[in-house]
């Protein structure tokens, strides 16, 4: 549940110009609040022995290939892929950008996080072996029930979106098993911490510059 704040960039710039220590303070406080989510998410990544055994094995194909094989599971890779970033990511088509975010970057990590989120518990539909190889909406396994079996072997998806929250994003896009699960459990504390940090910083800023006093005479 992100807090939508306008002018973060400007605030940072102004803080940086007036008092660089304040900016560092804010970033440090947000980091302190976000790191428990990252660490908890890393803890939810299962050991290699806990996922379906076939997922940890490398593809049996060698030589040049025209498509990418299904990424094998490797816990250390998943853990390394879960990161905290204090910067701002690329603005999306809707004009939104996230700052101070936790990302899940590895391919197996993303698969574990999202499997069944869009397709449901039965997995992607299987329409036979002659299916278009470029179609990513369908299963290309030899086993028609592969998707359902893969999803059934994982814990359920957890929704990080608080119950009863209104807004456009009511769909499935806040559901997951790693970062979203951790966020659903920790975001209340993190949010309180960050809001307090921002509040304190604002108070310090006003106190140090005394601009408000000057304006009011």
């Amino acid at each position: 549940m992100p807090v939508n704040v306008t002018g973060i960039k400007e605030m940072k710039k102004a803080l940086g110009e007036v008092d660089k220590d304040l900016l560092k303070d804010v970033q440090a406080q947000i980091r302190v609040a976000m790191l428990p989510i990252r660490d908890k998410a890393r803890g939810y990544a299962p050991q290699d022995s806990e996922v379906l055994s076939g997922w940890t094995k490398a593809a049996g194909i060698t030589g040049p290939m025209k498509y990418r094989t299904f990424p094998k599971y490797n816990r250390s890779q998943v853990v390394e892929g879960i990161k905290y970033s204090a910067g701002r990511n690329k603005r999306n088509k809707g004009g939104w950008a996230a700052t101070n975010y936790i990302s899940n970057n590895s391919a197996p990590g993303k698969i574990y996080e999202l499997a069944g989120r869009k397709s449901g518990p039965s997995g992607a539909p299987w329409i036979g072996l002659d299916a278009d190889i470029n179609n990513k909406e369908i299963s290309h396994s030899l086993n028609p029930r592969a998707g359902a079996q893969f999803i059934a072997a994982m814990p359920p998806l957890v929704n990080a979106r608080p119950q009863g929250m209104s807004g456009n994003n009511r769909g499935y896009k806040q559901k997951g098993r790693l970062i979203f699960r951790a966020a659903s459990e920790e975001q209340g504390k993190a949010m309180a911490h960050i809001l307090k940090a921002l509040d304190d910083t604002a108070a310090k800023f006003v106190k140090r510059t005394e601009i408000r006093k000057a304006v009011n005479g």
């Binding site: 400007e10 040049p64 025209k66 004009g95 950008a97 990302s103 028609p144 970062i179 979203f180 000057a214």
Partner: protein, 491 residues
């Protein structure tokens, strides 16, 4: 795969989006206009008629497909729905039996057997039996379905020559095995017969009818001139394909008009959507693929640079709306008014700093910050000096006041030889300074101080002589002894 992030803070900038939306709306209007023009030139009436027939055929086909899909869902085979459709389409093509017949037959068998595998085997057997006996596929399927339910009477009426012992057993595995043994390959063999060819033509006609409408098909039959069935079949399918290509071509042409939808590959313009999506990033097998990947990469870099430039330009450009916004910016108005009303330089500096922050003017903000700092330091120094002066005054007043009020005596009542106040209010110094000093020394409050004077000390006579000499010297030099501005006596 999309970026997967969880964020606590996010920010919104809708400027670029609003502009893009505006552009898209304009483009949408243009394409709609283009579509109208196409319709006009291609003949609106012909297109409407064609569309109506095609939709009717498609609706009937879809209805049957939906019915089967629902049946599959109800029997727990929802996931197999596309697979079954594919299977039926292949059977239709292979044996010249319409899907309109195959679907209900398959549905009947599925209801009775409850298994897709058994239904597929039974349908295959039903096709063979149908080809051999002349009964319709639906009739044979219905008989087989009843057999699965334990009623074998309908099977005896198929004329398939099943043995009474097998029928009496009611074992469908045995019945099916006997039917397969007797009629295997009949459906394929029938295709070589005239009736089989006719059925194939029927299937081709129905398929085309679903696409382009029956009216158009009849017209083609009359215009064909060639009476052989094979030619007619291929012509019908060819026309359907041509119409489909025309429609697809119009769509493709429309797509090429969309900005950013086409890309130049090896000197040839291609639609992005028609290019393979999966083999650019992950290791290609041939040299051509590498070239393609390079082109894609260059294009992406170019796009990224263009987007960055666009974003920078947007940030730099101060639009008329922004200027208007500035005029109605209450905060700015308040600050400007306060600046005009301010009298002292420090307040003015602070207000200018506030305005610089509002304008996001880094250089100006730094300048004002430095000035503010200097002003603050100067003020602090002035304050400190003023406070020091005030402290001295305050102490002096306190001391005098205390002495006048007699508080001094109270405060130092344990100390002898302190100043006192006389009846008239004047301060009375101690009568005997030596005893005061000695009293302090005797109490250990003061240590005796000895002053040694170096050089010579003049006597009173020497001093008088020196003054007389000096006055005489002044008079001799013609200068007066009266100070400037003073009144001098007469000579």
């Amino acid at each position: 795969m999309a970026n997967l992030i969880f964020s606590i803070l996010s920010e919104y900038n809708g400027k670029g989006l609003a502009k893009g939306k505006k552009d898209l709306t304009a483009f949408e209007k243009q394409t709609k206009q283009l579509g109208k023009t196409f319709a006009k030139y291609l003949g609106a009436a012909a297109l409407v008629k064609f569309g109506k027939n095609a939709v009717m055929a498609f609706a009937a086909d879809e209805k049957a497909a939906k019915s089967l899909e629902l049946q599959l869902k109800n029997t727990g085979y929802a996931f197999s729905s596309p697979d079954v459709e594919y299977y039926i389409a292949n059977l239709q093509k292979l044996y010249g039996v319409l899907d309109d017949e195959l679907r209900p037959a398959f549905q009947t068998l599925l209801t009775a057997s409850g298994s897709i595998t058994k239904s597929q085997q039974a349908l295959s057997t039903a096709l063979n039996v149908s080809a051999a006996t002349g009964k319709s596929v639906q009739e044979v399927s219905a008989a087989l379905a009843k057999g699965y339910s334990g009623q074998t009477t309908a099977l005896t009426r198929l004329g398939a020559g099943l043995s009474k012992a097998t029928l009496a057993s009611g074992n469908m595995d045995k019945i099916m095995a006997e039917l397969d043994a007797k009629f295997a390959g009949q459906a394929s063999a029938r295709l070589d017969t005239y009736a089989g060819k006719m059925d194939q033509l029927k299937v081709a006609t129905a398929k085309a009818s679903e696409t382009i409408g029956k009216g158009l098909l009849d017209a083609l039959g009359k215009l064909s001139g060639d009476t052989t069935l094979v030619t007619l079949t291929s012509q019908i399918e060819g026309l359907a394909g041509a119409v489909a290509k025309l429609v697809s071509g119009i769509g493709r042409f429309g797509a090429t008009l969309m900005p950013g939808n086409v890309v130049k590959v090896n000197g040839e313009w291609r639609l992005k959507s028609e290019m393979s999506k999966s083999n650019f990033t992950y290791g290609l097998g041939s040299g051509a693929g590498v070239e393609l990947a390079k082109i894609q990469e260059k294009k992406k870099i170019k796009e990224a640079i263009a987007l960055r430039t666009q974003e920078n330009n947007q940030l730099k450009a101060k639009t008329a709306v922004d200027k208007l916004k500035d005029q109605f910016d209450l905060e700015r108005i308040g600050l400007t008014a306060a600046l005009n009303a301010a009298t002292d330089e420090e307040t003015k500096l602070r207000l200018r700093s506030q305005l610089a922050i509002l304008d996001n003017n880094e250089a100006l903000a730094k300048k004002y910050l430095a000035e503010l700092d200097a002003a603050a330091k100067t003020k602090a120094l002035a304050d400190a000096l003023a406070k020091a002066g005030l402290a001295v005054d305050a102490f002096s007043n306190f001391a005098m006041g205390a002495v006048q009020r007699g508080e001094y005596a109270d405060a130092y009542k344990n100390i002898s030889n302190v100043p006192t106040v006389s009846a008239g209010g004047a301060m009375q110094l101690p009568s005997a300074a030596s005893s005061f000093a000695m009293g302090g020394v005797s109490r250990g409050e003061y240590a005796p101080v000895t002053v040694n004077v170096a050089g010579s000390v003049l006597t009173e006579q020497d001093l008088t002589n020196t003054i007389n000499d000096t006055i005489l010297r002044i008079n001799k030099m013609g200068r007066g002894t009266t100070p400037a501005g003073g009144l001098s006596g007469g000579t």
